[in-house]
Symmetry: C2
Subunit: 461 residues, 2 copies
């Protein structure tokens, strides 16, 4: 049955509907928090007990979701109306089989499989005629083969485990000294297969954005609705560090919020190009739900160019800013819930024929990471009174912090996010950063500690 | 220790903070839903298992909270940072003793006691110089005494159990034929003592509003912040039926949204008078948290008069409209959580020196009641696809529907609320009503049934 038919049937079904979510982290928690006001039966699955979304679920299962038998067992036992894979480290072949057996997997099992495989995804994007950065694939086992592949693509480059997410297994290669660290990161930190890395030539882009794209029922058929492009910035480790957006895209398109240049016409062109590229990619993937389409935006000689990067077939780290910037119920988690249960999604304006939700005000998000020395169970937070003067704190309620450690690089575990609103995007970013760095954490008997000062958003690139 | 000192201490304390909530219904669920994003440990207590707020709590206790020993046992076992009484049917003497023992009960134990006793409350309001309707108290045991008291106050009148809430035990007395039904409602449907009723002379008001008033830390001391006055309307049974508010108070002040008259100056005067009256009453009650101050607004000869009615020392039925109309995190549940944990509350504008939060857009709420014939466990809903075209549905996820039955009057159990936004208040109200009446319910094997058509909001008064 095609997605629209499934959704039409779901929308007419009596509630409660039952949802099983595989991977019950912070992005999933927001989906369940939204569901928790309209009578869904909620089942969370994760590798550990007490995961963020499990704390708002009706019950939880705990196992490694790379075990396809266990995944199937839960689906056949629970008989859910909707299966939401919210994690890359899951047996995607089993999801395909479950879908063939008639279970509704979102966005669809094939999209879940393609998006977690950077090789398949790049092929799919190329079919849409959307350009990407130069890239090659290489096995991570042999240091010399790996080094050669990196130098072929050219420095600077970004190395990423072919199957991973959230920056795990990713590493910037600024010069030759970084090559071995990058290889080990891809090999050892992947959330899935670590045997192959993709090496991406560094794109000299002006700004990186995420198109939070919701594919959902529109008048009985399928259509998409966009959030305004979400500007994002990362640290040297390649993982999400902060994001923001604004009702006025000229605040950050096409040159980023730190630019003194401003051009309404180019901004409008960039905005439309972002939606065009994202729509093509999402239509190729199909299914229902929120996709986070990461795109590079570049201006050269008065022309705007948009290159595709990655796609999450689910809510996206950078989209957490919508928890504060969108109207109640329309955070990316709320949008995902609506889309996968057959509800329509409203829109505020049309841009180039696309349906657009407008943020209420400029807003920014900044990751709240556990400092490297804070590790283990028994987490506590202080300094919140000061932090909450600047921003809202969304803490993920994780029962522990464990950092992803490569031999050369440690990715600190993300424990929450600071969400700020400002008169403009720059103010919002500064406030979110001030809040994140005011929080101190400890685990068990460790010392109280705040996260390392990073280079700051405006110096990141 | 005074409230400000307690709150300052709480705001500096490491998180997680622990909250015990007595009474875990729909208004409490929103408090816990808000808390569920910032690492609180949440304990729900109610008379039945699987109550709305228990489904987002870490654990639940089930007992009758008029049993003071049980109330104390939970507090002493859990050692919470904050005790939230979210129900009138609780041993308020025990709350006073717990407070004396040093536990932080919000807003404070005395306010909880006063607000559930209509006699004490009216005395406290009178001390503030705020007028009320004419009233008298009478025992409900003797039909003749009761009849005499009603006729003394004069018809039409409203009879209410002296200790109750949410319209339980309340009844309009339009003419003498209604007297006995009103007595039995007060006697048999009270949520607490049913032996005494208050008879209130009918105020020929133009509009009834709730001042959603938050008392919280401001610069280390205590201050209040208001939502824009929430317009409310009831059915003949005297319980909450719908509400709404708008950024532009002249849409409904001082004559209500159904009036063709419009006067910006009188509206501004009415708005300010509402805040003045509510602030006086809330300052007299003290403590921290959201108060729902119900007020009648009346215009006569170009003069605006404001009369006090009732006060909830907690979020209020009519304030559920803020779930949709306020910015994310600032619903009345979010405001209550902030206030009782020592956080400040932002404001958007000042009106007559008062701090005011502005709604994002005109919005309305309409109760979703179980039809009288739908009763018991195994509730299911359908017609939601149509309903959700008009409005957001907040379903309370109650495991059953049982109606409050007097001998002559049945108050249908409220199962949810439809929340709509509109270009103006009237459109929002119509949309919320359309949504509520599109939903069909069944319990177990009952027939599918939609709630009775009521007289409609514009005909209610």
């Amino acid at each position: 049955m095609d997605t629209a038919s499934v959704l039409r049937e779901l929308s007419g079904k009596a509630r409660p509907l039952k949802v099983v979510m595989f991977g019950a982290g912070e992005l999933g928690r927001e989906i369940f928090r939204e569901a928790r006001r309209s009578w869904y039966e909620l089942v969370a699955v994760d590798r550990y007990q007490g995961s963020p979304a499990a704390r708002v679920a009706d019950r939880e299962y705990v196992f490694d979701m790379l075990n396809g038998d266990a995944v199937r067992h839960v689906v056949e036992t629970e008989e859910p109306d909707v299966v939401i894979p919210e994690i890359e480290a899951i047996d995607t072949e089993e999801l395909l089989e479950l879908e063939r057996d008639g279970w509704f997997v979102v966005p669809n099992a094939e999209a879940a499989r393609v998006c977690m495989d950077r090789k398949l995804l790049r092929e799919r994007i190329a079919e849409q005629g959307v350009p990407t950065s130069p890239y090659t694939f290489v096995e991570t086992g042999d240091p010399e083969d790996y080094r050669e592949a990196v130098l072929d693509v050219g420095l600077p480059a970004v190395s990423k485990a072919v199957m991973s997410s959230s920056g795990k297994g990713s590493h910037y290669v600024h010069d030759e000294d970084d090559v071995e660290a990058a290889r080990l990161a891809a090999k050892n930190e992947a959330r899935g297969r670590g045997d192959v890395a993709v090496i991406e030539g560094f794109v000299d882009f002006d700004v990186e954005v995420t198109a939070i794209t919701t594919r959902h029922l529109v008048d009985g058929g399928m259509g998409v609705t966009f959030a305004k492009p979400v500007w994002q910035y990362q640290t040297g480790k390649g993982d999400y560090h902060g994001s923001g957006h604004s009702p006025d895209v000229a605040d950050y398109l096409p040159w980023g919020p730190d630019s003194d240049r401003r051009d309404e016409e180019l901004a409008a062109e960039a905005e439309e190009r972002v939606y065009d590229a994202a729509e093509g990619i999402v239509e190729a993937l199909g299914g229902a739900g929120v996709f986070g389409v990461e795109l590079f935006v570049k201006e050269a000689g008065g022309e705007v160019e948009v290159l595709a990067n990655e796609v999450s077939p689910r809510p996206h780290d950078t989209g957490m800013v919508t928890y504060l910037s969108h109207r109640p119920g329309l955070s990316e988690g709320g949008l995902h819930l609506r889309a996968v249960t057959g509800r329509e999604v409203p829109f505020d304006e049309e841009v180039g024929g696309h349906r657009i939700l407008r943020p209420l005000h400029p807003a920014a998000s900044h990751a709240l990471k556990a400092p490297g020395e804070v590790e283990g169970y028994g987490l506590r937070y202080r300094g919140l009174a000061e932090a909450e003067r600047y921003a809202e704190l969304y803490l993920f309620d994780k029962p522990f912090a464990y950092h992803s450690k490569g031999e050369h690089v440690t990715c600190e575990e993300r424990m929450g996010v600071a969400l700020a609103r400002g008169h403009d995007l720059e103010e919002a970013v500064r406030l979110s950063e001030s809040a994140a760095h005011a929080v101190e954490m400890r685990a068990g008997d460790t010392d109280w500690s705040a996260q390392d000062e990073d280079e700051g958003h405006f110096a990141t690139r």
